[in-house]
Amino acid sequence: MSDESGAIRKLILQAQRGDQQAMAAIYETHVDRIYRYIVYRVGSESDAEDLTAEVFLNMVAGLPNYEVTGAPFEAWLYRIAARRVADFYRQRGRLKESDLSENLVGSAAQPEEQMLEQQEVAELHAALGQLSEDEQQILILRFVERKSHQAVADILDKQVSAVKTAQYRALRRLSGLLGSESKARHYLRGNDD
């Protein structure tokens, strides 16, 4: 077991005993990556904030029964997050994931850089939304979080070869989607392509 996973394991055991500092440390370690994962899945920062809160409250509720095994702790968190995202879409009435990217349109008063950032997130979210849940998870973990094939396989409980195959298909589709969006954007702006 690596030093990092050993440290997390120790924190988990301490948190299960009621140690609030350990719980806070677990939260600080994972909150941003879970938030990022959810933002790129749902396309709205405000919704992502609410869903992130639900993930960690679910974590607290389930922690007494959590058993430290060979699987990484964050695998459990990502599973909770994926379920919350799925529930989110069910409650929204099965809207296509790409339809929600309009939530990220910023106001004219925001700095330009922030607007560009939001636009980029919206475009990526819209493209990712066309992929399956598995493919979205693999691409976000691999490239937004920069995890290795093995780490992603451990988190998703898959074989490395399966991760590579799904990654290959997902990136082929994503490159086509991003390419079409880019063309559409240029067309709407009146640029010749």
Binding site: D32, V144, T165, Y168, R169, L171
Partner: protein
């Protein structure tokens, strides 16, 4: 290997070269369309939860955490305890007679000339908690008494009886032997009984859940309930040892030898020798 698998493997290698794992790993150019799509994801905004929101959520998480740690049962002694104690004592005597003495008498009925020997049954230990005859003892209501005295817990660690009052001028009022089910600061919980230790007690530096301990304690009244103050703690688990002012825990290697008086069966079997030192302090976690 299918074409897809071969292509996937080749793409994976290209990606590992262009986008090695690690948030701070350098990125290298590659004009493959799939790698370009991956690069766009890698260069996507690294969004983080706003500081205020993060702190607010942390408060919610910690508040929820404080509520989910299960509170052990605390026994509140009803006013009519002496009467209930007397009834419970009678019931216990009757049960012992029915389960132990009568079968022993029946087994010797064919040979009335033999000496009658009554031996307590050892195959099914009765987990009976008894205390010295103090009117206000930790004996709960009738229902709870039945739960404790007649239904053996799943763990087989026995509950010992207290010594006779005439043998020890200051006998402990309660003795429990069992596994630690919860640790909260200086409170140790065994079989839902909370034992309060001195905050500086050395045991607190090494104890873990499921360690088997023998704790003798005194009962003190507090408002409408009773608390148990631990006065003597002995480790039954042999990978820990509790001295007067120090404690030792087997760290899983041979770096932290136990004191000579500690059983430390696991350490001695693993590392040989008799250990050393008068107090190794608390061992590191394995």
């Amino acid at each position: 290997m299918t074409d897809d698998q071969a292509n996937a493997s080749e793409l994976a290698d290209r990606l590992d070269n262009a986008l090695p794992p690690g948030r701070n790993a350098p990125i290298h150019a590659d004009d493959h369309p799939s790698v370009q799509a991956a690069l766009r994801l890698a260069n996507a905004p690294q969004l983080t939860l706003a500081t205020g929101k993060k702190a607010q959520l942390l408060s919610q998480v910690l508040a929820a955490h404080g509520k989910t740690v299960p509170a052990p049962r605390t026994y509140r002694i009803p006013p009519k305890t002496p009467l209930l104690l007397a009834v419970a004592s009678v019931v216990i005597v009757i049960v012992v007679v029915l389960l132990v003495i009568l079968p022993a008498l029946n087994s010797t009925s064919d040979d009335p000339g033999e000496e009658l020997v009554v031996e307590p049954s050892t195959s099914t230990p009765v987990h009976t908690l008894t205390t010295t005859p103090i009117p206000t003892t930790v004996v709960p209501s009738g229902v709870e008494t039945e739960e404790i005295t007649s239904a053996p817990p799943t763990d087989t660690a026995p509950v010992e009886t207290t010594p006779e009052a005439t043998e020890d001028p200051n006998p402990a009022e309660i003795v429990i032997v069992g596994p630690v089910s919860e640790i909260r600061d200086n409170v140790i919980v065994i079989y839902d009984f909370e034992f309060i230790l001195e905050p500086s007690h050395p045991l607190l530096t090494v104890v873990r859940l499921n360690d088997v301990l023998r704790i003798e304690g005194d009962i003190e009244e507090q408002d409408d309930s009773f608390i148990i103050i631990a006065i003597q703690v002995t480790a039954i688990s042999t990978d820990i040892y509790v001295g007067d002012d120090f404690a030792w825990r087997d760290s899983g290697n041979c770096q932290n030898p136990p004191p000579p008086q500690a059983p430390a069966n696991g350490w001695r079997a693993r590392c040989g020798g008799s250990g050393g030192g008068n107090g190794g302090g608390s061992g590191s976690d394995s």
